[in-house]
Point group: C2
Chain length 120, copies 2
């Protein structure tokens, strides 16, 4: 009855290895406003994990699922199940190792633009 489960409360999700993360993929992932919003919120509390339902996004649940999957498959976030929730965290270590300074510059740029446009 539980074909995809392996252990108690643990379904594994496919993540790219660090070396498989591509800059173009990261940029594409962050070029969508909804996904950029998610990443900014995750970065605000970088040591914490947040469930998908934590985010207040202007799209439906299934679209939300889609965006989180894109972020995971591009290597921007890591997703793990915890009970019925799916916890999300930035892959800061991996991204910083691959592209030092990039994530900080992107987040600073996003923050700057949000302040400038009053979209915060």
């Amino acid at each position: 009855m539980t074909p995809a489960t392996t252990a108690a409360g643990t379904r594994d999700l496919p993540h790219p290895a660090r070396e498989e993360i591509r800059l173009e993929g990261v940029l594409h992932a962050l070029s969508d406003p909804v996904r950029l919003r998610i990443v900014r919120d995750l970065a605000a509390d970088s040591d914490e994990l947040f469930a998908c339902s934590y985010f207040d996004l202007p799209v439906t649940k299934s679209t939300t699922t889609h965006h989180f999957r894109v972020l995971r498959e591009c290597g921007v976030i890591r997703q793990t199940y915890r009970g019925t929730a799916k916890m999300n965290g930035l892959r800061r270590q991996d991204l910083d190792a691959l592209f030092p300074g990039l994530l900080d510059a992107l987040l600073a740029a996003a923050g700057r633009q949000a302040a400038r446009l009053g979209t915060d």
Copy 2:
């Protein structure tokens, strides 16, 4: 016979003003490998202008035109006519003013990845 010309050898092209440049647009523009390649080449000699034909791209001429237009409309490059050629230059000042450090971080990340993958 020259409906779009205004002065000798001068046809103007629409560019977004600095304040109109959006981070999402810049990231989208750079998420394409061909366009990222163009921007890297432009940045290698940041004070110089290069004609479209300068670049050795793996696409046809009309596709090249398309990519340069995307870069211009997103505010990443500035294009000016010079004779029959169209000169291209990075909008470094505008981008640095809007998003300090972003362009450098992006170029460094692209260079790092190219070195890692042997795509240089």
